[in-house]
């Protein structure tokens, strides 16, 4: 045995515990860092919510900003006896509601804070703040609400909401109480807009007052505001288009052809985005989602419309490029299928250019037949396959890849679709000829129509349409926007079709669209619709050389393309190009036009019509694809 070992062991015990006493003396007596005791301070973790990024239009006009509101928080364990009457008056709630909410908060946790009252407006907060010292356990958390000064572009901008448990489970970044973009660019640019959450550790005294930050903020993390976004939208054009579309249903997209920048995109009927924020959101959302006109449905990107005569452009371009028709090609003034025939209204004898000018149906049925049944492809199936590839190269039948969520691909059947219906090798151009005039199993969104128009304006290519121009002042590089998508149609094939489009406005179906000296190229469309009046369509771009704007307008159940769609597109072009409106009478007629009274209200089942036997002439056929809500709006 070591003689000294007992002393050494006792010594070690003593020294260690002595060190602890010294440390305790330091921590408890000397060190001010942990000195919260004097006022019985408690530490509170306060989430520092970042300001969400602002959104501007292409000219720098503010479209979305944040307004301060306050969430009233409660930590049940800290709540002491209080004057309930006064509190309820300040918080503007009933006593029963107070008791109910306290119980709910206690149920969640006695020690953790939960939201007692959401989104208190600044005026009420001012009153509450003064008296808050009387109410232990309550404190306010600054939050923000989105505000939309232009009151427009509801569908494109989208809205935000609080994350739910499902989202939190999916993405660990989010915590209870965080906001997240739910639709529109709020959703697709969530990462850029949301910023970075911070946390402040503050000391709160017994009177519920903040006494400053813990350890001079050494452990605080500062929130980083979200990035500001500049849109490609022209707020003025957007608002104007929405005004023109009031009391009408439909969709509009306007694109700057050279860049793919979306100048305006709207779905009508629309709503004031300001109603989708704050406490009223749930109520208003419920109202909108049961709205018979489907105001929440983003027709511009999700509605499948038959493009009607506007589709003749793409069809003609494909045939010209394949040397199936040329500028001088003419056809008999009818299209005969079995015992039926497609007829046209009287007009002088025409070639390709004139056929566009007069929108001659038999001509384009013939063009479609010449293409699909062409001997050089062997079979009609192969002919159709080639034709379909042409159409797809305009961005039809697939998602274009726009930087907004919930885009739908549209409908452009593959040959196999017809094989299934008619049997392989048992169908040919005469079976499906209505495709050639934009009817039949075709579903195209207004955005896709505008994109086809942009391809024509550019003589052969498009850039992916997009809505975000710049993020934090730098060009938007989050998406691949610089890739040039070429159509299968060579530039020289466009001339004759564009000539025809110019004639449409100068001397054809869309003379109403003329203004000033601007050379406008366009095409009207009147798409058949079994559920009511025809849809009115117009696509066009201006000026002819070096085009600045390509527009597609779709007005549901309104009749001829020249009556509604063409004037709307024309007024939009005029405003965008000249910044003035020289035709107040036309503007007045459009703005005052109320077409919703003809709108097919619920009870009328709207769906894709079953592919009918195509032995009847097209005027008599059931018309397909009008409006299908393919995705749940959330």
């Amino acid at each position: 045995m070591n003689p000294n070992s007992r002393i050494v062991i006792a010594g070690i015990f003593t020294v260690v515990l002595l060190i602890y006493l010294i440390r305790l003396f330091y921590v408890q007596v000397l060190n001010e860092q942990y000195k919260l005791s004097a006022n019985n301070n408690v530490i509170r973790y306060v989430t520092d919510y970042p300001a969400r990024g602002l959104i501007y239009d292409r000219k720098g006009e503010l479209m979305v900003f944040n307004e301060a509101v306050y969430d009233l928080m409660v930590i049940p364990r800290q709540v002491k006896e209080l004057d309930t009457t006064e509190f309820c008056r300040l918080a503007d709630i009933s006593k029963e509601e107070f008791i109910r909410r306290m119980q709910k908060a206690k149920k969640f946790s006695r020690f953790k804070s939960s939201i007692f009252e959401k989104q208190i407006p600044p005026e009420q907060y001012a009153l509450l703040q003064e008296k808050l010292y009387k109410f232990n356990g309550f404190y306010v958390l600054p939050r923000t609400l989105r505000k939309y000064p232009t009151k427009s572009a509801a569908h494109a901008l989208g809205y935000i909401g609080e994350v739910d448990e499902k989202l939190i489970a999916k993405d660990p970044y989010y915590q209870m109480g965080d906001y997240i973009g739910i639709s529109g660019i709020e959703q697709s640019y969530e990462k850029e807009l949301r910023g970075k959450r911070g946390v402040r550790i503050v000391m709160v005294d017994v009177h519920n007052r903040e006494k400053g930050s813990f350890e001079d903020g050494k452990y605080d993390s500062v929130s980083v505001a979200g990035e500001d976004i500049m849109l490609t939208l022209d707020a003025k054009l957007q608002a104007y288009a929405e005004t023109l579309m009031q009391n009408k249903a439909g969709g509009i997209a306007a694109i700057e052809p050279q860049t793919g920048e979306i100048l305006a995109i709207l779905s009508s009927p629309t709503y004031d985005p300001n109603i989708m924020v704050g406490k009223a959101r749930n109520k208003n959302y419920a109202l909108l989602s049961t709205d018979p006109y489907k105001s929440l449905f983003n027709r511009a990107m999700m509605a499948y419309y038959p493009p009607g005569s506007t589709f003749k452009l793409a069809s003609a371009l494909s045939a010209v490029n394949e040397h199936i028709v040329g500028p001088g090609t003419s056809y008999p003034h009818s299209f005969v299928v079995g015992s039926k025939s497609v007829k046209c209204h009287p007009h002088p004898p025409i070639a390709l250019e004139g056929s566009i000018q007069y929108s001659c149906n038999p001509y384009f049925c013939n063009v479609f037949r010449s293409f699909v049944d062409n001997k050089k492809y062997g079979t009609s199936e192969n002919g159709y396959r080639v034709w379909r590839e042409y159409i797809m190269s305009f961005g039809v039948g697939k998602k274009i890849g726009v930087d907004m969520p919930h885009e739908l691909p549209g409908l452009l059947p593959a040959p196999e679709f017809y094989d299934k219906i008619y049997g392989k090798g048992r169908w040919k151009a005469s079976t499906i000829y209505s495709l050639g005039i934009g009817q039949g199993e075709l579903g195209i969104t207004p955005l896709q129509m505008a994109n086809i128009t942009a391809v024509i304006a550019n003589r052969g290519y498009y850039y992916t349409p997009h809505i975000v121009k710049a993020i934090s002042g730098k060009p938007n590089t989050t998406r691949n926007l610089s890739e040039k998508h070429s159509s299968k149609v060579a530039p020289e094939s466009f001339t004759v079709v564009i000539d025809g489009m110019q004639k449409v406005v100068e001397a054809g179906t869309a003379r109403v669209a003329r203004f000033g000296n601007t050379v406008i190229c366009g095409k009207t469309g009147t798409a058949q619709n079994p559920h009511g009046k025809d849809h009115s369509l117009f696509v066009g771009f201006a000026p002819r050389e070096n085009p600045k704007i390509a527009v597609a307008v779709m007005v549901e159940n309104s009749g001829f393309g020249a009556t509604w769609a063409a004037p709307i597109a024309s007024l939009m072009m005029e405003l965008y190009l000249t910044d003035t409106i020289t035709r107040p009478d036309l503007e007045k007629r459009i703005m005052e036009g109320d077409l919703l009274k003809d709108y097919p209200l619920p009870g009328t089942k709207i769906k894709i019509a079953p592919p009918a036997k195509r032995d009847s002439v097209w005027q008599e056929t059931e018309q397909p694809v009008v409006l299908t809500e393919n995705k749940k709006q959330n």
Binding site: M1, N2, S5, R6, V8, I9, A10, I12, F13, T14, V16, L17, I19, Y20, L21, R23, L24, F25, V27, Q28, V29, N31, Q33, Y34, K35, L36, S37, A38, N40, N41, V42, I43, Y45, I75, R77, Q78, S109, R110, F111, K112, V199, I201, Y219
Partner: protein
């Protein structure tokens, strides 16, 4: 030999008093730690403090049973008890459910037992039995090996249960071996190895190796007269280098992520106040906010608002520090120091080597628990979840400490009957 008339005869009442006082402090601290108005009765058995009272009642009964049993029983059956405990530990390994990553609990109905707690007194008994054998000489290499085996076997099984804290407790038996004749160099080398390990975590490996080389060179220069010293220095330098080199391996490979994090927090490499650093920081705030005299009974805010986790078990010291301040902490540490001194005093008055070795075992275990638990709460040691003796909430811990201490009291009360 006199006939024993009462089980309370010759009992060391000072130790018993310290025991009762500590247990009482524990009970009211648990009450303060988990106090809420809805269950304000200290006897409410739906709450931890109510349950702790049941555990305390059980402890007192156990204490009496331990005192009733003949003192010679513990000597005679030391190995048997040890063997049974080893079997229990192995059983826990296979029978237990996973609780926070550890397989340390055996459930018998509503009861949950933690065999690791009870393995401590069993090991102390077995080691005492072995070292008190007449023919045993600690200087013999065989003795050293067998002693270490007795200690490391349960520790290894507990390590397999993923309960690192409890396994480390067995390291405290080094004091017992030292008292029984193990060279003090073992203590010193162990201490320096630990120190070097910590330094190696903080300082770059290459720099540290250069420092060691430089120190060795200087020492060799100073002591170049004696050849033996040079060899020793060289050996020490090589050993130090080996420790340094092994650190990164142990740190990266052998430690689990949460253990690594706790060490990082302690060394100030990481100040994640919401993550791993949360407990320690909250604990320090709670203790620090107590000031000199504390906030008063049930007046603590930090510990009650769930800021400090595990507040009735591993972090119970926070409640004491917050509500009773430096004075309270001071008194508590003095109580522990008093208990330890008393146990050492008891140890030294024994004629029986068995009782002496056992007493040192008891002192070492209690000391280690106090050192690690409080050290963790005041941010001097990494977070290792072991209870504060007699105070932390929990039946297994309280009962095992009771058994540990009362076997000693029983053995001590028998000291006058022992001849050797």
């Amino acid at each position: 030999m006199r006939k024993q008339t009462s089980i309370f005869q010759n009992i060391d009442w000072l130790t018993v008093s310290l025991y009762l006082v500590l247990m009482f402090i524990g009970w009211i601290s648990i009450y303060a730690a988990v106090y809420n108005e809805e269950h304000s009765s200290i006897l409410d058995i739906s709450q931890n403090y109510g349950k702790q009272l049941l555990w305390i009642g059980g402890s007192l009964m156990i204490a009496i049973v331990v005192l009733i049993i003949d003192a010679r029983f513990y000597d005679a059956f030391a190995y048997l008890i040890y063997g049974l405990m080893i079997l229990f530990l192995i059983a826990a390994l296979f029978l237990s459910r996973d609780v926070k990553g550890a397989h340390a609990w055996i459930e018998i109905g509503a009861f949950k037992l933690q065999p690791a707690e009870f393995a401590k007194f069993a090991t102390a008994l077995a080691l005492a039995k072995y070292l008190s054998l007449l023919e045993i000489k600690i200087e013999k290499i065989q003795t050293k090996i067998i002693s270490s085996l007795i200690v490391t076997l349960p520790a290894a099984i507990i390590l397999l249960q993923n309960d690192t804290g409890s396994a480390l407790v067995f390291g405290s038996f080094i004091f017992v071996l030292y008292r029984e004749g193990l060279s003090q160099n073992v203590l010193i080398i162990g201490f320096f190895a630990a120190l070097l390990f910590v330094i190696a975590l903080m300082v770059d490996k290459i720099i540290l190796l250069q420092i060691i080389a430089a120190l060795a060179a200087v020492s060799v220069l100073l002591m170049r007269k004696t050849r033996k010293n040079i060899v020793t220095i060289m050996l020490l330098a090589v050993a130090s280098a080996a420790v340094v080199m092994s650190v990164s391996y142990v740190y990266e490979k052998a430690l689990q992520p949460h253990q690594k994090q706790r060490i990082d927090v302690l060394l100030g490499k990481q100040t994640d106040l919401k993550g791993a650093g949360y407990n320690v920081n909250q604990s320090l705030i709670a203790i620090g906010s107590g000031g000199i005299s504390g906030k008063g009974f049930l007046q603590g805010t930090q510990t009650k608002f769930d800021f400090v986790p595990e507040q009735s078990t591993d972090f119970i010291f926070c409640t004491i520090g917050e509500e009773w301040g430096f004075i309270g902490s001071f008194i508590l540490i003095l109580l522990y120091l008093g208990l330890l001194y008393r146990i050492l005093f008891i140890a030294e008055r024994q004629k029986s080597a068995f009782t002496r070795v056992y007493a040192y075992g008891v002192a070492s275990i209690i000391f280690f628990h106090v050192m690690v638990n409080i050290g963790m709460a005041i941010g001097l040691l990494p977070v290792i979840g072991i209870p504060l003796p007699f105070i932390s909430y929990g039946g297994s811990s309280l009962w095992s400490f009771t058994i540990l201490l009362f076997i000693l009291i029983r053995l001590d009360s028998y000291r006058t009957f022992v001849l050797r």
